[in-house]
Symmetry: C2
Subunit: 329 residues, 2 copies
Amino acid sequence: MNVLDTSLLPTAADIETAAKRLFGVAVRTPLINAPVLDELLGARVFLKAETLQRTGSFKFRGAYNKISSIPLERRRAGVVAYSSGNHAQGVAAAARLLGLHATIVMPADAPRLKRERTAALGAEIVLYDRDTQDRAAIAKKIVAERGATLVPPYDDPLIIAGQGTIGREIVEDLGQFLLEPEIVVVGASGGGLAAGISLGVKARVPAAKFYTVEPEGFDDTLRSFKSGRRETNARTSGTICDALMTSTPGELTFPINRELIGAGMTATDTEVAAAVRYAFHELKLVVEPGGAIGLAALLAGKLDVKGRVVVAILSGGNVDADLFAKLIT
Amino acid sequence: MNVLDTSLLPTAADIETAAKRLFGVAVRTPLINAPVLDELLGARVFLKAETLQRTGSFKFRGAYNKISSIPLERRRAGVVAYSSGNHAQGVAAAARLLGLHATIVMPADAPRLKRERTAALGAEIVLYDRDTQDRAAIAKKIVAERGATLVPPYDDPLIIAGQGTIGREIVEDLGQFLLEPEIVVVGASGGGLAAGISLGVKARVPAAKFYTVEPEGFDDTLRSFKSGRRETNARTSGTICDALMTSTPGELTFPINRELIGAGMTATDTEVAAAVRYAFHELKLVVEPGGAIGLAALLAGKLDVKGRVVVAILSGGNVDADLFAKLIT
């Protein structure tokens, strides 16, 4: 096992700082309650709609927190990031707001929408082949050549703290109903969202129980929870959850998620598609497959939530119109 | 002109009463701000997402306010309503929550989704032909036969007051940003939503300027504003805005809208389709054509909103999957 420098792990105080940086910049997304879902599950269900965040996913939070922390003298060299799509847009949007050049390394098979939107936000795009090339190596090369700052997708304390502001908002917004989160389901890929939210929620509600949800065949986090060390997925493509295909939990995110979460499950593409369809028909929300995986686990009855206060994160809504049309009809 | 009994007109106090009745029953829908839309229009734009209301449209508010006001001794005979779809679902859901039988008179060409959802809410459905039969007469007959209470779609003080709670929430929620609504755009059909919201907003912010938006060819409200009396549409079908085809402004709603609004515009089906598409791609919201008509007017640049605080009502999201798929691809 690696020896981890625990001083790198973000704290609840880092989330408070991130919340101050994001105030008035990130959207304070609504925590949506749908009576029809409450009745179906026999629980009080709240959906944190990060689909309504800038760029259509939670990724803007971490990216803005990270980029706004870059010292002024290093900003001219810009930032570089690798991403299948949502992190790309988050970084591009945050960089543009802060006046930095952004270079994004994207897989050639990323959804067209995500690529187009990243370019529309003014970023320079470098494509790579997901099956034969190493995106981290490509990004590292650009960093070395240009002196740019790398904005990692999840394994960075500022990124994790940025996503953690979601957890803070969940607790605050539930407080208005005199409720506390009892069960939180969150999709996991690199684990930055799960780590941030669990830190943010548990700083205020230590008893909240978390579960990660991953696509079947991409359950590196679940297997890592069981074995106690970072496991790797055999596959690098082949799920409709294009946002959830990272091959292994992060070096920083895993120790957090192991300690604060430690339990997870998987959902099949069929279950995820049903959740996307449900969100369209019953909730009137556009959710991308990877963003609907927590809801999918609830709808598929994978957890006993009867009578509990349950939160699912709708982490993103960037889905190609063609795929969405296919999923809902 | 008819002599109107002005004691029938709802007041700001009726909206306060409605808000108390709806508290904890209706969803307090979010007032959504999307930075991407702000940038596009050069304004601060807020979207009141009644798409996220129970049954997917604002209609639940008025229906629940009306039905919960029926004296106990009259409840056993149930309620009857006529509607192209959203009012049908609102009445069916409110009646079910309150334990009343609901009979809904629906046009045979209403969107399949709206018919199915109304039936799923336990209502009895009676179909009629929009071009040859009079829905009000059919409903009146059922009322006479069964002693049921009619729940009109808009021309009723309790219905108007129920929709007015939306205006109250808009002012309250903008207040948290230290803002007040300057311009409000709202779709008009029978005019109940427009009347309710303008009453609710102007009770607190008298200077707010309202505009109705209607489908091209169905501009009875706009022409009525100009002539000073209730005009009628020549057509009874033929717009994708199936929720906005009422042929003439209401007897109660028109005097309110003439006094508090008095200005309006139209949008073409093409402009409405563009708004539905924009809501999908940029806002990640499912909005039905009729529910997107206010947004359509803004996106088409029909109003000078530069630098202003603008509110558009997304009044409903009940759109058939096939039509939605066609509109977004």
